[in-house]
């Protein structure tokens, strides 16, 4: 079954994929720094009239829950917020973009959060991307 990205259903399927990923369970085990929000910038040309976000409540290698929200204000509770446009997220979800390399290029932006902490979890971030590639995804564009 495929899920439209980004939707609440996709977010739930992503949570399942993260929890099924042994690599994430291992590398994310020491993560106790709070939820991470992924924000997709609005792009009305592809039917995304406002920013949407997925808040992943990740803790000790497990994703305990997810919230699909609209607007930047709704993600501010997350200690870590990563923002990019739709095309970048798509490339990431398809495994064509490395998350850390993309941050170095400014394609993904950590707009909130402690970067040194994030860098200590490079492999864990990569495993989050690997998890996303396991979700059967239907893209908007």
């Amino acid at each position: 079954m495929s899920f439209k990205f980004p939707t609440e259903e996709w977010t739930k399927a992503y949570q399942d994929a993260v929890n099924a990923n042994e690599g994430y369970r291992t590398h994310g085990k020491p993560w106790t720094f709070g939820a991470v929000a992924f924000v997709i910038k609005a792009d009305p040309s592809i039917g995304l009239p406002e920013d949407v976000g997925m808040i992943m409540d990740v803790h000790e290698g497990v994703c305990r829950g997810t919230t699909f929200v609209k607007g930047m204000d709704a993600v501010q509770s997350a200690p870590f917020i990563v923002v990019a446009d739709y095309a970048r997220w798509r490339a990431c979800l398809e495994g064509k973009l490395d998350p850390i390399k993309s941050m170095m290029e400014g394609k993904l932006k950590l707009v909130k959060g402690h970067l040194p902490t994030m860098l200590r979890f490079v492999e864990s971030s990569r495993q989050l991307v690997v998890s996303a590639t396991h979700v059967d995804t239907e893209f908007l564009a």
């Binding site: 850390i100 390399k101 941050m103 170095m104 290029e105 400014g106 394609k107 950590l110 402690h114 970067l115 040194p116 902490t117 860098l119 200590r120 490079v122």
Partner: protein, 142 residues
């Protein structure tokens, strides 16, 4: 007293320069010893990220560290490496006195990469204190 971390004009739109400035700022905020180290640093360090085709220059001046997009001025040290290795440098394990711990996994990986020619340092031998201090302020490890 801590050095100001400044993005040089034009560096805001660069991919890596703002990230590096954030990394330095948060690292110095977290660690008093790294702040003291940064205050003692003078000179320019250029980083060329070969696979991304981009470069940055860190300029250490009294009371400030300026992050420039591209190579600006004449660097005292130039590091040329791929993005993976550049990021690994920020994960280098530190040992006694904040010096790199050669027994660490990242230290070994970087040493092997240097031996294989994947990382090149220019001017490092003539500026060992600058290099060691750079390692210390950039490392996300205590």
């Amino acid at each position: 007293m801590e050095p100001a971390i400044e993005l040089a004009p034009g560096a805001e739109d660069h991919g890596f320069a703002p990230m590096l400035a954030t990394l330095l700022r948060q690292n110095l905020d977290d660690h008093e010893d790294k702040r003291a180290t940064a205050m003692r640093m003078r000179g320019r360090v250029a980083m060329v990220i070969t696979d991304l085709g981009m470069s940055v220059t860190l300029e250490f001046v009294p009371f400030a560290v300026r992050v420039h997009a591209g190579i600006v001025g004449i660097p005292d040290v130039t590091v040329r490496a791929g993005s993976d290795h550049i990021m690994k440098m920020s994960m280098l394990e530190l040992g006694r006195f904040g010096l790199p711990d050669p027994r660490g996994a990242v230290a070994k990986e970087l040493a092997a990469a240097e031996k294989a020619g994947a990382i090149k340092y220019f001017g490092a031998l003539a500026n060992i204190p600058l290099m060691l201090r750079l390692t210390r302020v950039m490392s996300v490890n205590a």
